[in-house]
């Protein structure tokens, strides 16, 4: 009883109350756009164009989503995004995995320069190269193609993925492999039976990272995929915003479109957040 009172008294310090109030206010501000997207996506246009905004989706429905699905431009854009993202993730993971093995399991001449180059390349902005990349893809006849964009995406994402996977590979002690080799496995067997399973979280995290980059990418896609029929989802979403500049827009549908682009990203993002923070091989080399 007395402890409860004491704790209560400590809780009611004005500074702490103020801090909590500010924290909740900030939480409200930061979550509001996401909430507003979901809320608007459920409301019909007649409500959205009314005089006062409706803050809760009363009288809402999934009509806006149905309209998007019916419109016919969503599905090709989705197919384009899925194809590009898939190709990017697979090749990026493969290339980065091999390179990460090289730099974390071998000491060789040129290793430091390679790591340095990778780190600098990872910082280069798309805006500094996209005109030249456009000319490259134009001369290779790869404008408006999955392959053209995927090549550029793999190159853009692979440096950081190498860096990320390097950390994961280095986190698996070589002693584990050596112990397995003492027990009679070959070097390759030891790698695939011992190290590879321990790298699974790293591969998942890097794969999700590559997915997020490819799925969200806008700049390179805008330059390489200029034809209407080859738009990815971000470019497709942009056409709605462009339309809003000149004529009255059905914002409910735009927000439904926005929700469709954002939801997979939010889900995957939350997954990778947890994976990255959990320890990797904690306790597996003890005793």
């Amino acid at each position: 009883m007395t402890t409860a009172v004491a704790r209560n008294r400590r809780r009611v310090r004005p500074a702490r109350v103020a801090a909590t109030a500010i924290a909740l206010l900030l939480a409200l501000i930061w979550a509001f756009p996401v909430y507003w997207m979901l809320n608007s996506s459920l409301l019909p246009n007649t409500v959205l164009t009314g005089t006062a905004p409706r803050f809760l989706p009363f009288g809402g429905s999934l009509d806006n989503f149905a309209a998007i699905f019916r419109a016919g431009t969503f599905w090709p854009a989705l197919a384009m995004s899925v194809a590009i993202t898939l190709v990017t993730v697979v090749f990026c993971l493969l290339f980065a995995f091999l390179a990460a093995l090289a730099i974390s399991r071998f000491r060789f001449k040129g290793r430091a320069s390679f790591v340095l180059a990778v780190l600098f390349i990872q910082m280069l902005p798309a805006e500094g190269l996209f005109i030249a990349q456009y000319k490259l893809m134009s001369s290779l006849n790869l404008l408006n193609s999955v392959l053209g964009v995927a090549i550029l995406y793999v190159a853009a994402v692979v440096p950081f993925t190498i860096w990320m996977l390097r950390g994961f590979v280095a986190g698996v002690p070589i002693e584990l492999e050596e112990a397995a080799m003492v027990d009679g496995l070959s070097r390759t067997q030891a790698f695939f039976r011992i190290t590879f399973p321990l790298l699974a979280p790293g591969l998942v995290a890097s794969g999700v990272y590559a997915f997020l980059q490819a799925w969200n990418e806008f700049t390179v896609a805008l330059v390489i995929l200029q034809a209407q029929d080859y738009q990815t989802l971000p470019l497709w979403l942009r056409t709605y915003v462009q339309a809003s500049a000149t004529r009255e827009t059905d914002w409910g549908q735009v927000m439904a479109a926005s929700t469709l682009v954002a939801v997979p990203v939010i889900v995957f993002f939350l997954i990778v957040q947890g994976r990255l923070t959990s320890g990797l091989v904690a306790g597996s080399v003890k005793g």
């Binding site: 939480a27 000319k135 700049t219 979403l237 990203v265």
Partner: protein, 311 residues
């Protein structure tokens, strides 16, 4: 090659030496290096060469380009429009990075100061904002600031200011205000979580001891907390500056929503307009090279910091 022969002659092939001379690491690097050379290396060289050539209308119809040395750079940097864009970009970048870092640190301190429930709510909301794809965020924010039925205009009008049908994107200054709100909103979570991770490393005892010795909250912040989170703060601030220079998607989307292009261009959108819009590849390349050099210079300390980790 000679070392291998020599060591084999000596009959002592140490494991370390075999590993160093084995072609395995190089083979493992081949795919990554090939894709980087194709997608980044070749364009980089092309861009450099093009930036020293005349690339006009005649060249587009097949005439071989002529070498003009640094003429494109001279043309670019004697044009007041270029300096306007560079100046705006740097100002936008510094203002946004500063606001983001200050707010991010404040949010991290709040996460540290409040109870578990309030912290969780704040963290979930920050994660949501962080997870939103840039283009989806832009779309929502353009709707929030929409001049006809945006919630911001409605709220300000309700507060007694007349913002009915106010177009935020028309004037450069209010255009950049909107852009700043959006960029800060999407960047603060990264800073907040990084700094918060740093804050949790500070031992409770040190702060308690300081409090017992009579240090005020302000003194504890500047004398203990700030020095201890300085490493993470420097890195986060540097990354923020680098990232806020490349706000192409954000500015492009706001322009698409109906802003005047010429007076709101930053570096990325200006290069886009030069290259894709007016096919002035030579000058666009020259400006791209400038942006790349600027990025590499800014990235230097960050990369060196990462290299230290690679041991």
């Amino acid at each position: 090659m000679t070392t291998v022969v020599a060591s084999r002659d000596a009959g002592a092939l140490t494991p370390a030496r075999t590993r160093r001379m084995s072609p395995a690491p190089y083979l493992l690097l081949v795919p990554a290096i090939l894709v980087l050379l194709l997608a980044l290396g070749y364009p980089l060289v092309w861009q450099f060469v093009t930036s020293t050539q005349k690339f006009g209308l005649a060249q587009q119809f097949g005439k071989p380009p002529e070498f003009v040395g640094l003429a494109n750079y001279t043309r670019l940097f004697t044009d007041p429009q270029t300096w306007a864009v560079v100046g705006r970009s740097i100002a936008f970048c510094l203002v946004n990075a500063a606001i983001t870092v200050v707010l991010g640190v404040a949010v991290a301190l709040l996460m540290n100061a409040v109870g578990a429930v309030a912290r969780l709510i704040l963290q979930v909301s920050m994660l949501l904002a962080w997870a939103m794809p840039v283009i989806a965020s832009m779309t929502v924010w353009i709707w929030v600031f929409d001049w006809r039925r945006g919630i911001v205009n409605w709220a300000l009008t309700r507060l007694g200011l007349d913002f009915t049908n106010h177009n935020w994107l028309e004037q450069p200054l209010s255009f950049y205000f909107v852009a700043t709100v959006i960029v800060v909103w999407m960047s603060v979570p990264f800073v907040a979580f990084s700094v918060y991770a740093g804050l949790t490393q500070i031992s409770e005892e040190v702060l308690e001891a300081a409090a017992l010795d009579g240090a005020t909250a302000r003194q504890r912040f500047f004398a203990i907390i700030l020095p201890m989170i300085r490493p993470v703060l420097m890195i986060v601030a540097l990354l923020q500056v680098i990232w806020d220079l490349r706000v192409f998607a954000q500015i492009k989307m706001l322009q698409d929503a109906g802003a005047p292009v010429a007076s709101t261009d930053l570096l990325g959108t200006y290069i886009y307009r030069l290259g894709v819009g007016s096919s002035d590849f030579a000058v666009a390349s020259a400006l791209s090279i400038f942006v790349l050099l600027l990025t590499v210079a800014l990235s230097f300390f960050y990369v060196m910091h990462l290299m230290k980790e690679d041991r």
